[in-house]
Symmetry: C2
């Protein structure tokens, strides 16, 4: 597979890599002039390019072809999950990126225990970039600001998103892909409280459950993402 | 949620915890006599029990109720995936357990780079147990001996399992749950070779692919497991 790099300025005929991307090309992969690479801007454009010059901390490329694909908007998938502890958050975000989740919202609930600091959420941007390099995705997964359950439910009502609430219970439903934008809510260890489940019901959220198993936050999020992704 | 422990001897009215399970109860959770726990043997039986005595390295319980559920056999899901590197193997096995995969086969292919030593595979048994304690699963996920692609294909032909081969390509198919036993094959980084793809086709394997993305081993395995699980 061609090595892929994140590059913001694909409008230029001679785009360059700097910072972490240049470091990866120069010191990790040790790429030389003449080597073919692929560049993506995370906003739909991908460019085939050839390395022209390798400098101390910068790689100059020359674009040979570009292509653009519009963002899917009619069936976007948003996952609002309480951030799991430790490495599990990073892992979850990597998997969301690979599977084509459009937006991740760090969800705040009554029983949330991890309230990730801004610095931790910023680091997740690097995780998204690394996963994009690996999986070939064009559109960057957005990491939204942390949001409370109520404010998210209101926002979904305004935008007419279908809302799915993952909650263990009798309501074991098939969770097949459907048309339209969907927001999936994943609660903390210990689950949503009864009043949160009621609140979601008031906003017409549909309850979904996994048969015979209590899933960890990141497992539920990834498994339902895989089932809901068109 | 009631604390759950793995316990082999549920036929006894006074089953006991020893080894790692006793350590977890005594030193991590610091459980005392009178505390209610749940015991599972990984072979379909679950017992409700109360702790009677906490000794230095052993916990004696008294069973108050037991229940047994037969193993699903008509729609078993086997995942044969090349072991990914580092922690990703452990992570994958944890998620398989949570999602209800019946058997994991470490798959050997031409481009496999990690050939896990027996000691590493043995450690995965502890990962399965830990995940079972958390997710409430009754039947233990089996970790099979490493197997070559060809021998596995032959075995599937003999047992009449449907075989699915995850391979990037034009054949993007819906991968919904179907009746009958299924074995899903996940190749290494770099994918199956052309001759392996041909071999699988000779054995009537159906190709499946994930749209628009090159998934890591463990991501493909978990995502397809989530879609294929009945």
């Amino acid at each position: 597979m061609t090595d892929r790099f994140s590059c913001d300025d694909l409008a230029s005929e001679k785009p360059f890599l700097s910072g972490a991307e240049a470091h990866h090309a120069i010191h990790v992969l040790r790429l030389k002039p003449g080597h073919s690479i692929e560049l993506f801007d995370g906003a739909g454009t991908v460019a085939e390019a050839v390395i022209e010059d390798v400098q101390r901390d910068r790689v100059i490329a020359k674009t040979t072809a570009t292509s653009f694909v519009k963002k899917r908007t009619h069936d976007a998938l948003t996952i609002a999950a309480v951030p799991p502890k430790g490495d599990r958050l990073k892992w979850m975000v990597e998997k969301f990126t690979e599977l084509g989740v459009d937006t991740y919202v760090p969800l705040q609930t009554e029983r949330s225990v991890v309230d990730p600091r801004k610095s931790k959420l910023d680091k997740l941007a690097a995780t998204v970039t690394a996963a994009m390099k690996q999986c070939g995705r064009r559109w960057r997964m957005e990491i939204a600001e942390p949001q409370s359950l109520k404010s998210l439910l209101q926002q979904c009502r305004e935008s007419d998103d279908a809302v799915l609430l993952a909650h263990p219970g009798d309501t074991v439903e098939a969770t097949e892909a459907t048309d339209g934008c969907r927001t999936l809510l994943i609660g903390p260890e210990g689950g949503f409280t009864a009043s949160e489940v009621q609140l979601a019901a008031d906003y017409n959220a549909r309850q979904i459950a996994w048969p015979d198993s209590i899933l960890r936050i990141e497992t539920a999020a990834i498994a339902f993402a895989a089932r809901l992704r068109p």
